[in-house]
């Protein structure tokens, strides 16, 4: 019954036998022990489980592990390994810390990864564009304002690095 999958997660190659129904988020958390990706609703409505799948932000609670076969996955634990980060905190992570973009922290990994994709697609977003991009990630603590500040901080920082 188990199916073999091969994928790369945070730049490391993995080969696993998984049940076809195993969700990607449970594969990451329970099989690989990468518990930084959170499960908030199991219905792709809250965004806490967002990871990058081949560079695109996806909600890993509604992706099967077998669908990720052959893919490259980046989770919050691997963000420091991304080109923009250069082994340190990613500018988006830095922004969340600098601007108090989190309180309880549960939505934060998903928020950060969605923001990373936003800034790759649109390096200089307006407030409205940030709000729209984050509309699929729910936060109950911050009221979003400081998250927007965090994204702006990261945009500025990434721009200055490019120069």
């Amino acid at each position: 019954m188990a199916v073999e999958i091969q994928l790369r997660v945070n730049e490391k190659a993995y080969q696993s036998q998984v049940e076809p129904r195993l969700l990607l988020v449970h594969y990451l958390r329970d099989v690989l022990g990468l518990t930084g990706t959170h499960v908030g609703c199991e219905t792709s409505l809250c965004g806490a489980c967002t990871v990058l799948l081949d560079g695109k932000a996806v909600k890993s609670c509604t992706v099967l592990a077998v669908q990720a076969d052959g893919s490259e996955v980046t989770t919050i634990e691997g963000l420091a390994g991304q080109p923009e980060a250069g082994g340190k905190l990613h500018p988006v992570q830095e922004g969340f810390w600098e601007k108090h973009g989190l309180q309880c922290g549960f939505c934060t990994p998903g928020m950060i990864l969605t923001s990373v994709q936003l800034l790759r697609d649109n390096p200089n977003p307006t407030e409205a564009e940030i709000r729209r991009a984050l509309a699929g990630n729910l936060c109950r603590c911050t009221g979003y304002q400081n998250i927007i500040e965090a994204v702006r901080y990261a945009a500025k920082k990434m721009k200055s690095r490019k120069r």
Binding site: E19, R21, L22, H26, R29, D30, G33, L34, T35, G36, T37, H38, V39, G40, C41, E42, T43, L45, C46, A48, T75, I76, E77, L79, A80, L89, Q93, F96, W97, E98, H100, L102, Q103, C104, G105, F106, C107, T108, P109, I112, E127, I130, R131, R132, L134, A135, G136, N137, L138, C139, R140, C141, T142, G143, Y144, Q145, N146, I147, I148
Partner: protein, 783 residues
């Protein structure tokens, strides 16, 4: 307050954040123990039914399943769900951890499955067959008391849980002297807290040591330890509760639920670690709800806008059973009913009723948002009745700063305030005069612009033990370790508020160190002395004060030691830059040297004990009463009924501030939760008692794209209740903002002849109000 204020009052970045932004923190579901087993819970699909039989045969035979137990199996084995609130003549209807004869709300646990794997547990839940005999559900709280209504708890003759009355001042006289009396029915809809992390419990029992460790996503680890020990009938000294990283609470985790005891029980009986993680659906169904009141208010006024008296009848829908504080919450509405106004006479009658729904309990604000919504709508109704500006009505009824401490007709003593100043600042920041001027012009252009304000006061820093069901004090132990690093153990249980940072700021300033020298530890009952927890905006005002007092005790002891070494008067020493200086600054020793002296204990002054540890159990003399003024502007779309929030200005006063960045974060987050109540959120049960807003698809919490930029500012009126002068701020935004928004939308629709709009002010509701006003004949025809 302290010798040098280098860090207190500064927006220091959080010490909590590095682990949280890198995915390195540990919430309950992140715990991995060898041989972990998983719990799945069978829950009632009926709101009200008799359980005829439960067939567990198929579930028990399913792969990976190690145990299936029903309510009958566990009857008497685990004590009922605790309720700490006591109200005279309150009916007590204890909730069993698993229903065994009847179910009384959709989502009530009926049986438990334990399996070796998460998926297997969930599969087996579906294999448990329960035969129910459906009974008529009681859904409408007003009809719950009607003659012939089905009774939830058959040992009683009706669904009345309690009546509670409070009267102060001469109400008869007030209504006799009134020029006018205004009536209004206000509904504070049922809400669902929706912390982003659902609840979760892990339990590990070690039979040799007879030690049960429970990790729970909770705001009250110590109270939980006591309650779980009682429920399981084990000595409290053998139970340890750990609140690991907690992903939001908002009151929903200020509780003890069946799952903590059940998971503990299974761990003890299987001898394996057991995990239960709540699904979002379960979180909607079986974690406490908030609000749910129907308030009929009558207010006696003079023609000049003076409010003479207020009478209110409250029906509080408590749900099927009590949780920890369920019956108490509506009484907070009663106590705070006069808001920040000088109303000489009030009377409140609360009728708490049972219905076939999940229990209501403390949800961010807990009783005060209801009071504030009520009194702030009343102020605007008075203004509308007298055709006066709402600002004028509020000014007329404020107590003046010199009247503080101010005693309310409900018997509370407000500690300190200047309501006028905060309102003036909010009006200035919002440019209220211009907003009003623009509104006249915009209305002429056919736009539906509304301006709303609210001036609120809340009751925080909970609280003196005399007024609390289970102790209102808080504990703190501070230890300077032999290496000179400082450990702060707090009975508060922060879950996002940031006290690992703000308490470290305090430690650094009192002892002349850096915040990184101070480590704040919380949430582990084996490590931290007994405490109460984080709720009711108390962690800084009560918990922080306990920390401060312990810090001062330690500093004083270190001064004795340093003074002895230096040959200086201990009272004149200054702690700064990791050194202890003589007053003139000529002599000093390193902080670490004084610490070493305390531990090596060879040069201690006579009568001074070795070691550096101090504990305080701080009992506050009163609550604190933060306050503020919020102003907002909305535009209602005449075609769709959509509300666009154009401007939001908040000026809050929570006394002194330890870290302004954290305070602003609390305020903005709170306002956005209030936007949810005002515009979007409503827990709806249908006439069969099914929760039809039982998922994030149907229950709309605010998204980033729903809201504008919130402008915050502060006035500072220190509290005399504690030496820090702090008041608390966790609930302010949620309390102040809903009425401001409600007043703005009512104002926007005033030209349609609309006097009041019920919450949540959803587009269909507003569209209908406008539509009826525009085309009365057509509306009548289609009815």
């Amino acid at each position: 307050m302290v010798t040098a204020m280098r860090y207190i009052g500064k927006p220091l970045k959080r010490k909590e954040d590095p682990r949280l932004i890198q995915g390195l923190a540990h919430y309950v579901d992140d715990l991995r123990l060898p041989e972990m087993h998983y719990v799945g819970i069978v829950r009632s699909p009926y709101a009200h039914a008799r359980i005829r039989s439960v067939n567990i045969g198929k579930a028990k035979a399913a792969p990976g399943v190690v145990a299936v137990l029903t309510g009958q199996d566990l009857r008497g084995a685990i004590g009922p769900v605790p309720c700490a609130a006591q109200i005279p003549d309150m009916k007590s209807a204890p909730r069993p951890v698993l229903a065994f004869d009847k179910v009384r709300f959709v989502g009530e646990p009926v049986a438990v499955v334990v399996a070796t794997d998460r998926y297997a547990a969930h599969d087996a839940v579906d294999l448990v067959e329960v035969d129910y005999e459906p009974l008529t559900p009681v859904v409408n709280p007003e009809k719950s008391l009607a003659k012939g209504a089905t009774v939830l708890h058959e040992q009683f003759k009706d669904n009345l849980a309690y009546r509670w009355e409070l009267e102060g001042g001469d109400l008869k006289k007030a209504f006799k002297q009134a020029d006018k009396v205004i009536h209004q029915r206000l509904i504070n809809q049922r809400l669902i807290p929706v912390s982003m992390e659902p609840r979760g419990v892990v339990a590990e029992y070690r039979p040799g040591e007879k030690q049960l460790t429970i990790w729970s996503s909770t705001q009250i680890p110590h109270l939980m330890k006591t309650q779980v020990a009682v429920m399981l009938g084990v000595p409290e000294s053998s139970v340890r509760v750990i609140a690991p990283e907690v992903g939001g609470g908002f009151g929903s985790k200020l509780n003890v639920y069946p799952e903590e005891a059940l998971v503990g029980y299974f761990s003890m009986h299987l001898g394996k670690p057991v995990k239960w993680i709540e699904s979002r659906r379960e979180n909607f169904l079986a974690t406490i709800h908030g609000r749910d009141q129907i308030d009929d208010v009558e207010v006696a006024i003079k023609r000049d806008g003076t409010v003479l008296g207020l009478r209110c009848k409250i029906i509080a829908d408590l749900g099927a059973y009590y949780q920890l504080l369920t019956p108490l919450i509506p009484t907070l509405t009663g106590l705070m009913i006069s808001g920040c106004y000088k109303i000489p006479a009030v009377r409140v009658e609360i009728t708490g009723v049972f219905t076939n729904k999940m229990a209501t309990d403390a949800y961010r604000g807990a009783g005060r948002p209801e009071a504030t919504y009520l009194i702030e709508r009343v102020m605007d109704l008075v203004a509308a009745e007298l055709k006066k500006d709402p600002v004028e009505i509020r000014r007329k009824n404020f107590p003046q700063p010199k009247e503080f401490p101010f005693t309310t007709p409900t018997g509370l003593i407000y500690d300190s305030a200047d309501y006028q100043k905060t309102l003036d600042r909010a009006l200035k920041n919002a440019n209220y005069a211009k907003l009003r001027k623009d509104q006249v012009r915009q209305r002429k252009q056919g736009r539906h612009i509304g301006i709303g304000l609210s001036t609120y006061v809340e009751i925080c820093g909970m609280g003196p033990s005399s007024a609390m069901p289970a102790g209102g004090w808080e504990s703190a132990t501070v230890r300077v370790e032999p290496t000179g690093k400082v450990t702060v153990l707090t009975g508060s249980s922060p879950h996002g508020q940031g006290q690992e940072t703000s308490f470290a700021q305090m430690g650094a300033d009192v002892l002349g160190l850096e915040p990184d020298d101070v480590q704040v530890v919380h949430g582990d009952t084996a490590v931290v002395p007994y405490g109460i927890g984080t709720f009711g905006s108390r962690a800084t005002a009560v918990g922080g004060t306990a920390v401060y007092k312990s810090l001062v005790k330690l500093r004083d002891k270190m001064a004795l030691i340093a003074g002895h070494v230096l040959g200086e008067d201990p009272q004149k020493l200054v702690f700064r830059d990791k050194k202890i200086f003589s007053k003139a600054g000529k002599k000093s020793i390193n902080f670490g040297e004084a610490v070493a002296a305390a531990y090596v204990a060879k040069t201690l002054p006579p009568g001074v004990e070795p070691g550096l540890e101090a504990t305080t159990f701080f009992e506050p003399s009163n609550f604190t009463y933060p306050f503020g003024a919020h102003v907002c502007a909305v535009e209602v779309d005449g075609e769709t009924g959509d509300v666009r929030l154009e401007k939001y200005v908040a000026v809050d006063d929570c006394g002194n501030v330890l870290n302004p960045m954290l305070v602003d974060g609390q305020v903005v987050g709170g306002i956005v939760q209030a936007v949810g109540q005002a515009l979007l959120e409503e827990a709806v049960y249908d006439d069969q008692g099914q929760l039809i807003t039982g998922e994030l698809m149907d229950y709309a919490i605010p998204r980033a794209s729903d809201i504008p930029w919130m402008e915050t500012a502060r006035t500072v009126t220190p509290s005399p209740v504690n030496p820090l002068g702090v008041k608390g701020v966790g609930e302010a935004g949620t309390i102040g903002a809903t009425p401001a928004l409600a007043n703005a939308v009512a104002d926007a629709l005033a030209p349609f002849g609309v006097r009041h709009v019920d919450l949540p002010m959803k587009r269909e509701r507003l569209w209908q109000l406008m539509h009826k006003a525009r085309a009365p004949s057509k509306a009548r025809r289609t009815k």
